[in-house]
Amino acid sequence: MLDNFPLWPDRASTMAGNVDALYIFLLIVSGLMTLLIFVAVVYFAARYRYRRGVPAVQIEGSIPLELTWSIIPLFVFMAIFLWGAVVFFRGRTPPRDSTEVYVVAKQWMWKLEHAEGQREINELHVPVGRDVKLIMTSQDVIHSFYVPAFRMKQDVLPGRYTMAWFRATKPGTYHLFCAEYCGTQHSGMVGSIVVMDPAQYEAWMSGGSTGPLAATGEKIFSQLGCATCHRTDTQGRGPNLQGVFGKPVQLEDGRTVTADENYVRECILDPGAKRVKGFQPIMPTFQGLVSEEQVNALVAYVKSLSNSSAAGANSNAAVALPAAPDKATAKGNQVQ
């Protein structure tokens, strides 16, 4: 019904309906409250306008009334709060196995890179019906990734990752805005999100890729010599990165953190800050040596080393398999 309503933004994500429903509820609640006050004020102002010889009736107040108009609004507010919180939580929790897109914002441009390797500027192609997670950082000042049709907005900060996700529901081209003031051409930092049918999207994806982002990351990993310390066995001077991503990590100072995107990023750019227990502070910082895009590729690579889903299980199986014959041989030897 709202799709053709003038002055109403497009609705093109699973969030849009949730946000609109709460918005309409709030319009009704606040409309009723406004009406209540408006009618009361107008009625009293007309009914009790000054008349010669009719004095005002002095009323001290009424505690039952005060309690009524404190408690009822409080309950209404709490209902709005809860509803708003539920919508928010849903919008902040990326579903597992989302397609990942790395976003680097800079004055005054959006640089986007798909996990599959496609790069785009000020334009993002996504398929209908797939969860897309955005892993975003800024090269300079604070920006904000805003897609009104998706009812989605997230500030993009320098020096860390912020995340957002959406699932597009309707093919079309939608506005992408920078919503946090970022300097002279702030209003020029706009682009579009192109939502495509899956078939069209596959066709689009098949062209122009430089290979998956994780593969790019692997190349950088070996170019920078990371592999000399981060070996795939336990003998390295740095932690083995296989299967680390997404798991808790014991730190030297006793804390435990989860190895998420921000942690991997911090370990590359500020390795001393959260050092893994049992390792010496020998890793140099790569701050200034790698671009934001290269950090993204490295993060994607580290992530690919512990794909807990199908691929990860397979590689574990692959590791386990050669061991089995060994054991069998050992047992066999014992038997023999």
Binding site: A56, M78, V141, R151
Partner: protein, 555 residues
Amino acid sequence: MSMATSGGAPVDRVNYLNKEYGVGSWLFTTDHKRIALLYLLSITFFFFIGGFFALLIRLELLTPASDLVQADTYNKLFTMHGMVMVFFFLIPSIPAVLGNFLIPLMIGAKDLAFPRVNLLSWYIYITGGIIMLHCMLTGGVDTGWTFYTPFSTAFTNTKIVEAGIAIFIVGFSSILTGLNFIVTIHRMRAPGMTWSRLPLFIWAHYATSIIQILGTPVVAITIVLVAAERTLHLGIFDPKLGGDPLLFQHLFWFYSHPAVYIMILPSMGVVTEIIACFSRKRIFGYSFVAFSSIAIAVFGFLVWAHHMFVAGISVYAALIFSLLSYAVAVPSAVKVFNWTATLYKGSIHYDAPMLYAFGFLGLFTIGGLTGLFLAALGIDVHVTDTYFVVAHFHYIMVGGAVMGYLGGMHFWWPKISGRLYPEGWARLAALIVFIGFNLTFFPQFLLGYMGMPRRYADYSHMPEFQILNVFSTAGATVLGIGYLLPMIYFLWSMRYGKPASDNPWNAAGLEWKTTSPPPTFNFVEEPVVTWEAYNYAELDAPQQDKNKQEVPVAR
């Protein structure tokens, strides 16, 4: 209500205005009433500068392309509009003018507790103001009034440090005013003026003063840190130097959210006085209205991060700040209901101050209710940093605070100037302001939900936003006329207005029991208060001998 003029010419009596003439008698005065007028002149000056910037902003947005001014200029315009209006007009407006003038009169004191500190606060304000003017005339600032880091510390090449110094300095005038009010209200009340007999205007200013002295130092510290990072490259906020940009936002909003209550609470105080007088009633639920002011001041300090829901704070922090934001909405709602209930069985007059109070009620209600939208996490994600926010805070800070300020200026103008303003023109102006305001800002709610981000010089990629922007610009023109009118007729009335009697509205309150304009020390003899606040029943009692209303005299 017809405004009574007394016989003779009371303006000729010796009063604070005609006691001395000459520039020195104004620049070195310690009379709170004269200092209030110094503030009135200075904030009016800054109001029209800020208004001029607003007009240019609206003209630029009439068309999607950035054609009237370039993006750089546009960014400076909205930055300086915000800085001037917030720090040099709204925050000092009601407290420094009406509060300064009325607090001693309302509590039966000769002056504020520290008259010289009061004068000092004006000089501090003027020093800050001159630096701000210099900053604007020599290039200005383009960071937005919120001057978020690291843009403000490492990227902008405009005069952010100078603007920071101006705001840092002007903050001290706000702190000194707040301090002066708190001490005055505690220590200088006339005999019999108990806390429960204080006009609610005083309660509102008391709450405001608490925020001023507790909150303002935090923004001062923040400015120092920004200046230190920008000039000395100390890593505080910029991640490249090891800082945290979110820390800045926490510090900034820790002051700047309560600052909204510095702007709105005094206006609520004014509206309370006006509604009581023009309904001829004691205010409904006096103690609830009084304590809701204090509750707003206290809770107002606990909600700052609701400006940061999408800034990168944790979802749990967001949850807490959303919850607390709803808590602070309750005392505001309580006030609105009590004002409405005060009208019930009143004897309501439609003079200009009351029209402004009605306007305040309508606009503040809409501003407050749209705050509920923004406090709802799921909706805030969509509408924050859009025109929805711009509309919301203008409904509070212009629709609320400025309507109250204008209502108060009309209500107390006879007391301040000793002259009556032209009632017909004043009612017309109130109507024009109300219509112009809604035409300007209501379309911005729609624009915001459609997704138009704020601080956009150019929207040529989204021409669908133009029609509502045209409405808004048209409204701003009407609003501008509405604001010019009072300035013209107030000036006119100073010379040609009818002389006012001591109490032209037959209003309750000690300020009406002295002459118009009051003598330098306010009361010829110290008043003793034997009645409750808003004793309109006694004032309107027909048979009573008017002489019994005279102020009983101590000693």
